[in-house]
C-alpha cells in the first residue's frame, strides 16, 4: 500500500443538527439531524463520490467539510499527517481534553481556525454548486465573476486579465464571453463558468455538489469530460456529490453511500458493484437505476416506503424501516462501520 503523507480532508465524528423553529406557545420543534457522527477521510488526488437520496444530508456534509456550515459537533482536519489524525481520534474517544488535542486542533482543524487564517485556507477549498442559474450574480460580467476570487485573495491586478483568459480557455469558453452577463449563457456554459471560478486559484480540494443534475444528457457528458480533464491535469481532489449512481461510478475512485445522515457504506468504486458484502441500501440503489439497455429488462428492486423524517430518525439502524433483511436487533443497536475488505466498510449487522 502507498504511504500517505497527509490526509487532505478528514471528518471526525462530524455532526450537524439544525435547531427546530421556536413556537409562540409550547416546546420548539424537534431539531433536524442532517448528519450524525460521520468519519470520512479524503486522500490527496482522489475523487470521493457521495451518493444518497435527496434529504439524506449529502449537500450539508459537503458544505461542512469546507467549513461553510459550522458543524454542531466533531471536527474537520485539513492536510493532517496520519499519525496526528490517529492521535487526535484516540484523544477524542478517550475524552481527555489535554493540551495535545488542542494543539492538533489549532494546527489542523478547519473548525478551530481563526477567521483570518480560515480565509487564507479558503482559496484551497472551493465548491461548485448544483444550480448554475442561481450560483452566478446576474449583475456581474463574467470577467468580474472570474476576477473576484483573485481580488479577494490579493492576486496582483495586472495578472487578472491573463489569468481569466487562461481560465476560460481551460473550461472551453472564448475570450468574447468575458463581456457577457450570466443570463446570456446556456446551463452548460454557466456550469463551465462556475467551474472556472472554482479553479481560479488552483484549489487543492473542490466540492462538486450535483454539478450535472441541472443539465441535459449531452451537456452532462461535456461537463464530466471537463472535470476529468481538470483532475488529470491538476491532480485536484474532488468530493463529487450526486444522487445519480451511474455518474458517480463514472467519476469517483471511492464511493460513500449515505442514508438519512449516516454513511452506510464506503469503499472503492469497483467494490460497490462486485463486493459480496454490500449494504442492503446500496443494493437497492443499484437495483433501482434503470439500465439503458432494453435487452436486459429486469423488474427493479423495489424498496418499500419512503425516506423517514430526519427529525425523528428510526432507532438503531436508520435503514431498518425499509430494509428487506431487518430483524429485531436492528431496532436496538446501531450497526458500526465494519471493515470487510481492506478499505471497504459496511454498516450492517448481517453483511
Amino acid at each position: 500500500m502507498r504511504i500517505i503523507e497527509h490526509v487532505l480532508i478528514s471528518a471526525t465524528s462530524l455532526t450537524k443538527t439544525f435547531a427546530g423553529r421556536e413556537r409562540l406557545i409550547g416546546k420548539p420543534e424537534d431539531p433536524v439531524h442532517a448528519f450524525d457522527s460521520i468519519n470520512l477521510d479524503i486522500l490527496p488526488g482522489e475523487t470521493l463520490g457521495l451518493v444518497g437520496e435527496s434529504g439524506c444530508g449529502k449537500t450539508t456534509l459537503g458544505k461542512s467539510l469546507i467549513n461553510l456550515l459550522p458543524p454542531t459537533n466533531g471536527d474537520v482536519f485539513y492536510n493532517i499527517p496520519p499519525d496526528a489524525l490517529h492521535e487526535a481520534r484516540r484523544l477524542r474517544a478517550d475524552g481527555s481534553d489535554g493540551g495535545r488535542l488542542a494543539e492538533i486542533e489549532n494546527r489542523y482543524s478547519l473548525i478551530h481556525q481563526k477567521s483570518r487564517s480560515m480565509r487564507r485556507l479558503r482559496k484551497e477549498l472551493q465548491i461548485v454548486l448544483q444550480d448554475p442559474f442561481s450560483a452566478l450574480n446576474p449583475r456581474m460580467l463574467v470577467r468580474d465573476i472570474l476576477a473576484e476570487p483573485m481580488k479577494t485573495h490579493a492576486v496582483p491586478r495586472e495578472e487578472w486579465l491573463n489569468r481569466t483568459l487562461a481560465l476560460l480557455n481551460r473550461v472551453g469558453l472564448h475570450e468574447d464571453h468575458l463581456w457577457r452577463f450570466p443570463h446570456e449563457f446556456s446551463g452548460g456554459q454557466r456550469q463551465r463558468i462556475c467551474i472556472a471560478r472554482a479553479i481560479a486559484l488552483d484549489p487543492r480540494f473542490i466540492v462538486l455538489d450535483e454539478p450535472t443534475s441541472a443539465l441535459d444528457v449531452s451537456v452532462q457528458a461535456q461537463i464530466l469530460n471537463l472535470l476529468r480533464r481538470l483532475r488529470r491535469e491538476q491532480r485536484t481532489t474532488f468530493l463529487f456529490i450526486s444522487h445519480h449512481l451511474r455518474v458517480v461510478r463514472f467519476m469517483a475512485d471511492r464511493i460513500a453511500v449515505m442514508y438519512l445522515g449516516k454513511v452506510v457504506q464506503i469503499g472503492k468504486t469497483e467494490h460497490l458493484q462486485d463486493s459480496p458484502s454490500r449494504h442492503p441500501y446500496t443494493e437497492a440503489l443499484l437495483g433501482s437505476v434503470p439500465e439503458p439497455d432494453p435487452f436486459h429488462r429486469e423488474p427493479p428492486q423495489l424498496l418499500p416506503g419512503e425516506l423517514p423524517s430526519a427529525r425523528h430518525p428510526p432507532s438503531g439502524c436508520r435503514f431498518r424501516t425499509r430494509c428487506p433483511i431487518a430483524q429485531a436487533m436492528c431496532a436496538e443497536t446501531e450497526p458500526p462501520l465494519v471493515e470487510h475488505e481492506p478499505g471497504h466498510f459496511v454498516a450492517c449487522h448481517f453483511r
Partner: protein, 400 residues
C-alpha cells in the same frame, strides 16, 4: 355519448387508424415572444398505437411537452400559435374540435400527468375532493346512475312526507340529464340547498378510494382527507396518476413523471405505471429525457430534436442500431461506469429556436453533415419496415 357526437370533424378512412389511438400529422407550433418568433414545433408527425407505451425522448426545449400540450389544446394562444397540423383521435381532429367537445375528451379520454405533482394539485383542496371532482365532472352519468339506483329502492314516503332518499334520487336523475339547468344553478347558489349533491359526492369519493387503492397509496381512506402538502413527492405523483386514471382514459400522457423524484421512488412509480398499463390496456405516451427509463419501460421510441421527430423505432431496434446521427450521439453520451475513457459528448449546444439552423436542424452538430443538409430539411423516410428517420443518410428503401 362518446361515438355519437362526431360533430363537424372530418370523416377519415377507418382502416388507417385501426390500430392507432392517435395520429399526429405535421404539427407546427410557434410562440410569439418579444425576442421574436420561437419555432417550437416544426412539423411533428407521430402515431400512438393501441395498448403501447410510446417513449418521447429529447433534451430540454426540444418540444416534447409542447407536443403533449398542443394535443390537449392546453397551450395559451397567444403566445402560442398552431400553424398547421392534425391530431386524429377516434376519427376526429382534436385541433379543430369545438371547445365543448374538447372538454369531453380532455381528462376523460386523454389524461395527462405533469412533471411536478405538487404544482398540478390544488393546495387548498384535499386530494380526495380533487379526484372526486374530476370523477363527478367526467363520469357524471355513471355516478348519477349509481346513486339513483341505490336511493330509489328506499320507501317512497316517510313520516315527514316524501322520503329524503327519493328527493336525492330524483335530483341525481335530473342532474344526469341536464346538469346546467336552471334548477341546479339555483341550488348551487342557495347555501342550505347546496348539499343536494351529497350522495353524488359520496359516490365519487367511494370511487376515488378505489382509484387510490389501484395506485397503491398506503391507507387510501386516510389519504382522501389529506392536503397535497401533507404528502411526499412520490405520494403526490401517485395521486396525480390516480386522478388521470380515474376516468379510464384511452390515452395517458405522462410528462416526465419521475424527474422530480428519487431513484428508489422513481423505480416504484415506473413499476406502477407498467402494471397499470397492463391492467387497463390503455396507450401511454411517456415523455422523458432518461434513456434508461425508455429502455426499461417503452415499446416504441420517438426521438425529438429541436422541434422535429428525427427517428421513430421499436425500442430494441433503436438501442441495437440507432440510425439518426443525433440518436447515435445521444446513446453514446450515456454514462457507462465501466468506460474508463472520456465520454463522447455532442459538441455545441441545442440551437436557438428563434433562429433555427436552415435545412436539418441538427446539421451544425452533426458529424456527417453534407451540403444538402444545410439547404433543405430532410424528409421522413422509412428505410426499414416500421422505422422512420429524417436524415439524408437513409434514403427510402425501394424494396417495400
Amino acid at each position: 355519448m362518446r361515438s355519437e357526437d362526431a360533430g363537424p370533424a372530418q370523416s377519415v378512412n377507418q382502416d388507417s387508424i385501426a390500430a392507432r389511438v392517435l395520429d399526429l400529422k405535421d404539427l407546427r407550433v410557434h410562440f410569439e415572444t418579444y425576442k421574436g418568433t420561437v419555432r417550437a414545433l416544426d412539423g411533428v408527425t407521430l402515431d400512438i398505437r393501441t395498448g403501447e407505451i410510446l417513449g418521447l425522448v429529447g433534451e430540454t426545449g426540444c418540444g416534447k411537452t409542447v407536443t403533449a400540450l398542443s394535443l390537449l389544446r392546453l397551450l395559451n394562444t397567444p403566445p402560442a400559435r398552431i400553424l398547421s397540423g392534425q391530431a386524429l383521435f377516434d376519427g376526429k381532429d382534436l385541433l379543430s374540435l369545438p371547445p365543448r367537445e374538447m372538454n369531453a375528451v380532455r381528462g376523460n379520454r386523454i389524461a395527462i400527468v405533469f412533471q411536478e405533482a405538487m404544482s398540478s394539485l390544488n393546495p387548498v383542496m384535499t386530494v380526495g375532493d380533487q379526484v372526486a371532482e374530476s370523477i363527478l365532472l367526467h363520469q357524471r352519468e355513471s355516478v348519477c346512475d349509481a346513486v339513483e339506483a341505490r336511493l330509489v329502492e328506499g320507501p317512497a314516503l316517510s313520516l315527514w312526507g316524501v322520503s329524503r332518499r327519493r328527493i336525492f334520487g330524483w335530483a341525481a336523475k335530473r342532474y344526469r340529464v341536464q346538469p346546467r339547468s336552471l334548477l341546479f344553478r339555483v341550488l348551487e347558489r342557495v347555501p342550505i340547498l347546496r348539499r343536494w349533491d351529497t350522495p353524488l359526492r359520496e359516490e365519487a369519493l367511494r370511487r376515488t378510494k378505489e382509484v387510490f387503492e389501484k395506485v397503491r397509496l398506503p391507507e387510501p381512506e386516510a389519504a382522501l382527507k389529506k392536503f397535497p402538502h401533507e404528502m411526499s413527492g412520490g405520494m403526490q405523483q401517485r395521486v396525480a396518476i390516480g386522478m388521470a386514471l380515474s376516468c379510464n382514459p384511452d390515452l395517458l400522457i405522462l410528462d416526465e413523471p419521475t424527474t422530480a423524484l428519487d431513484v428508489t421512488i422513481e423505480a416504484q412509480i415506473l413499476q406502477l405505471i407498467k402494471g397499470l398499463q397492463a391492467d387497463f390496456g390503455m396507450s401511454v405516451l411517456l415523455i422523458t429525457h432518461d434513456l434508461g427509463i425508455v429502455a426499461q419501460t417503452c415499446d416504441r421510441v420517438a426521438v425529438m430534436y429541436a422541434g422535429n421527430v428525427v427517428e421513430v423505432a421499436n425500442v430494441f431496434d433503436l438501442f441495437r442500431r440507432p440510425l439518426h446521427p443525433y440518436t447515435v450521439a445521444l446513446l453514446q453520451a450515456i454514462v457507462a461506469p465501466e468506460n474508463l475513457d472520456d465520454l463522447q459528448a455532442i459538441e455545441g449546444s441545442v440551437p436557438d429556436l428563434i433562429r433555427p439552423p436552415t435545412g436539418c436542424r441538427f446539421h451544425p452538430r452533426c458529424p456527417h453533415a453534407m451540403d444538402v443538409c444545410r439547404a433543405v430539411k430532410p424528409p421522413t423516410t422509412e428505410p426499414f419496415p416500421g422505422r422512420t428517420v429524417a436524415c439524408y443518410l437513409f434514403p427510402e428503401d425501394e424494396n417495400h
